[in-house]
C-alpha cells in the first residue's frame, strides 16, 4: 500500500492503519528527535508527540512533498518548540547518577543550547528546499562528490549540478539571513 492510499484509508476511518505509518517512519523521526534530545525516554516521548501531531493534521497533508519530508518537518517544528520551552530546574536522581565525575572545562550549556537551536534552523531550511536542490546539497557536502559524480548519479550535466548548488545556497542564505532591522531602530 502506498503512502497516498494509506492516508486515504486512515482518513476514511481506518485509524488502525496509522500504525503502518508509524512503523515506516519511526526510525527517521526517532533519529531526528534523538539528535537533539539526549535521553531515550525523552526522545521516545517526543517521537510519540510528533506522530500524534501528524495524525491530528493528516487532513492537511496535500501530497506535494513525500510523507517522510512532511513528517520530518513536523518533527523539526516540534523540536523548535521543545527547545524553547524552559527546562525544569530540578534534576531527577537517576539523571544525576549518569553524570560523569569529570566534566569538560570548555562545556557551556548556554552556548550548547544556542548552537543546537541554530543547527535546527539550518536543518529546517534544508528540509524546506525543493527536492532537486536538497539532493544536490547533500551529495556535494555530505558525500563530498564532485559536480560530475553528482551529475552521473542524478542524470544531469555537471553544469546543471553547479547551477542547482548555486541556487540552493542562495535559497539557504535567504532563509537563514537574520531579519533586517529597520533603519529607524538603529539610529540614536
Amino acid at each position: 500500500m502506498t503512502d497516498a492510499e494509506l492516508i486515504r484509508e486512515i482518513l476514511a476511518g481506518r485509524k488502525d492503519l496509522f500504525a503502518l505509518v508509524v512503523e515506516r517512519y519511526a526510525d527517521l523521526i526517532y533519529a531526528a528527535v534523538r539528535s537533539y534530545l539526549g535521553g531515550d525516554p525523552e526522545a521516545e516521548d517526543a517521537a510519540q508527540e510528533v506522530f500524534l501531531k501528524a495524525y491530528r493534521s493528516l487532513g492537511q497533508y496535500r501530497g506535494e512533498a513525500p510523507l517522510s519530508t512532511w513528517l520530518y518537518r513536523i518533527a523539526l517544528n516540534h523540536l523548535k518548540d521543545r527547545l524553547r520551552r524552559p527546562k525544569p530546574k530540578t534534576v531527577p536522581l537517576e539523571a544525576m547518577a549518569s553524570v560523569p565525575a569529570t566534566r569538560d572545562p570548555c562545556y557551556d550549556p548556554e552556548e550548547e543550547a544556542a548552537a543546537a537551536e541554530r543547527r535546527l534552523l539550518v536543518q529546517r531550511a534544508l528540509a524546506e528546499l525543493p527536492e532537486i536542490y536538497r539532493r544536490v546539497v547533500f551529495l556535494y557536502h555530505y558525500h563530498g562528490l564532485s559536480y560530475g559524480e553528482i551529475g552521473a548519479r542524478l542524470h544531469l550535466s555537471a553544469r546543471s549540478v553547479e547551477t542547482r548548488l548555486y541556487r540552493a545556497k542562495r535559497m539557504l542564505r535567504a532563509r537563514l539571513a537574520p531579519e533586517e532591522v529597520p533603519a529607524e531602530c538603529t539610529m540614536e
Partner: protein
C-alpha cells in the same frame, strides 16, 4: 584536533560551509578537512538525517519496537481523530460530472452578466454624455442672453463709447 585543524572551531562553521560559494577559501578548507576527518563528517551528518534515511542508511539509534502500538494505544485512549481531508470533503457524495455542469453554468452566467453590463454601461454613458452636453449648451445660451440683457439695462454699458463716438461722427 585532526590534521592540525581545530575540529571544534570548524564545526562551528558548518552553517557557513553550507551557504558559502564552493570556490570560497573557507569552504575549500572545510571540505578538505571533512574528507579526512570521519568525526567531523559524522557531525555534519546531523544536518542531513532525512537525506541519509532516504538513502537507506541504517541508523545506530532506532525507535523502540513497541512505538507504533503505544501511539495507536494513546490515539484510542485520547479519542483523537484526524480532521477530514480537503480533497475528501470535496469529492464526498458528488456525482461525476455534476460539479462540472454547475461550474460551466456559473461561467456562462458570469460571461452574460459581464457582456450585458458592458452594453448597459456604454448606452447609459452615451446618454449621460449627451445630456450633459445639451445642458452645457443651454447654460452658455442663458449666460450670453443674461449679459446682453444686463448690458442694455446698464446706462454705462460697454456699447456706450461706441454709440457716442458714432454720434459725434454724425
Amino acid at each position: 584536533m585532526h590534521d592540525g585543524v581545530d575540529c571544534r572551531r570548524l564545526r562551528a562553521r558548518f552553517e557557513a560551509y553550507l551557504t558559502l560559494h564552493p570556490e570560497d577559501e573557507e569552504a575549500r578548507e572545510i571540505r578538505a578537512h571533512l574528507a579526512a576527518c570521519p568525526d567531523c563528517r559524522a557531525e555534519l551528518g546531523r544536518y542531513f538525517i532525512l537525506e541519509r534515511w532516504e538513502e537507506g542508511e541504517a541508523f545506530s539509534v532506532r525507535a523502540a519496537a513497541g512505538l507504533a502500538q503505544s501511539i495507536i494505544g494513546s490515539l484510542e485512549e485520547r479519542g483523537v481523530t484526524p480532521p477530514p481531508s480537503r480533497t475528501a470533503k470535496r469529492s464526498e457524495g458528488a456525482r461525476p460530472g455534476r460539479g462540472l455542469f454547475w461550474n460551466y453554468l456559473a461561467a456562462a452566467l458570469a460571461t452574460l452578466l459581464l457582456a450585458f453590463g458592458n452594453c448597459f454601461d456604454a448606452v447609459t454613458g452615451l446618454a449621460v454624455r449627451t445630456g450633459r452636453l445639451q445642458e452645457g449648451i443651454r447654460a452658455i445660451d442663458r449666460y450670453t442672453q443674461r449679459i446682453i440683457e444686463s448690458s442694455f439695462e446698464d446706462p454705462g454699458g460697454w456699447w456706450r463709447p461706441f454709440e457716442s463716438e458714432s454720434d459725434e461722427r454724425r
